[in-house]
Symmetry: C2
Subunit: 248 residues, 2 copies
């Protein structure tokens, strides 16, 4: 099964919602009707609906129906977030999807070890051999993000300028066969350092947004720890919250 049925249904329904076929505040066809249309059981439809709810596209109401709560957003002035929709998407993918040009400049690349301090922050074991990488990322030629990546050398044995300035994630996925399983992220705001001021376009603001991220591959190995220092200019992070038991 290349693409699960619930995922196909999810894509179709999302498309209908985003194209306005199902309008803001209107009700979707009932679960039974959708099950009939897609020749599947209610359970399968419900999984597709759960995905839509997770994106903040719909709201299910017991006894009444499923309401569309998606509103078209104004076109963003830069990719709204590296991490849209609770999913996992690389910055390059996000830029492509929104029609922005992304370029990357490698600042440094070196082999190193995990010390106690990094171990505490990242969750990696003390003494692990890692590659440390610093990159400057420009959106539409404006330097907006300073990335500091740490990769486990056992997973990512080597990197070079070419890989690092195109897309590391494409390299990981296609060349190394690494796929991301889960990532936990923390967003904080910090005073800009001299490096930040020198390298990033901060628009006069003396702070940056730090997105710190620990990433597990699908084998359950914590292989990446990254701190992305974002210029606050145009930074946007979107998320949807809902009452807990509705997320099934």
């Amino acid at each position: 099964m290349a693409d699960p049925k619930y995922n196909v249904i999810f894509q179709i329904l999302r498309h209908r919602i985003e194209q306005g076929e199902y309008k803001f505040l209107s009700l979707l066809p009932s679960e039974n009707a959708l099950a009939l249309e897609f020749s599947c059981t209610r359970n399968t439809v419900r999984k597709a609906l759960a995905l839509l709810a997770g994106q903040g596209h719909i709201l299910t109401m017991q006894g009444r129906g499923v309401q569309v709560i998606y509103r078209r957003r104004p076109v963003p002035s830069r990719p709204p977030s590296t991490f849209l929709l609770g999913g996992i998407e690389s910055l390059k993918e996000a830029a492509d999807r929104n029609g922005f040009s992304l370029s990357t400049r490698m600042l440094s690349l070196e082999e190193s070890y995990v010390d106690r301090e990094l171990a505490k922050r990242s969750g990696m074991a003390v003494g692990e051999v890692v590659l440390r990488l610093r990159r400057l990322r420009l959106l539409n030629d404006v330097p907006l993000i300073l990335d500091e990546n740490v990769f486990l050398k056992s997973i990512v044995p080597s990197l070079n300028k070419t890989i690092v300035e195109s897309s590391i994630y494409a390299h990981l996925e296609h060349e190394l066969g690494v796929t991301v399983g889960s990532a936990t992220r923390t967003v904080t705001v910090e005073p800009a350092t001299e490096d930040d001021v020198e390298l990033l376009h901060l628009g006069g603001l003396g702070c940056i947004v730090a997105v710190t991220s620990s990433t597990f591959d699908t084998n359950g190995l914590l292989f990446e720890y990254t701190v992305s220092r974002h210029s606050p200019i145009g930074f946007e992070f979107n998320t949807t919250a809902r009452r807990l038991p509705a997320s099934i």
Copy 2:
């Protein structure tokens, strides 16, 4: 069914993980074993596991098992986020849970209408009658958040200083019978205004974190629009991302 079985299982498993009974990087019992333990089917266990995965506590690996990826976090210096875990939690609840004192000072409260500009931002209809409210919120007596709430008057007919300075959400839920269905939030960073500088403890930083939020009740009515201006001092926002199809 007061509390669904999958939710009970979820709570139990989460407790075991957070107490270290199931350790970081170890495997959970198999789904079949858990189904046996809790006298239910695999499907029900899987719903509980989906909730744990949604919190970044576990990572499921096909053919291998379910790995614990939860790490104990250092005690935060203030409640890490109003909106932990993709769920919905009021600031008061978050403060209580983390043992922080929260106090609130009402700055203004007035009746108003939704104009075109607010309609565009919030998604409310032009001309709706609303209550507009400004509050200063202090954590451990430090003024850290400036809240600007807009409530639909048809849902929240009246407010007063007492309600507004204790917990609006408790009032909504217990007195008015309003429950939250879904909320979409956007996090941005903005230059501090004069008001911000005067009212908030900014620690010398010239910016604030704006968390903008549109909230639907369980009847599918967009009844609240809020902009919370947070001091960047200690601001922290946590989230978990995972490959999409795993969220079922």
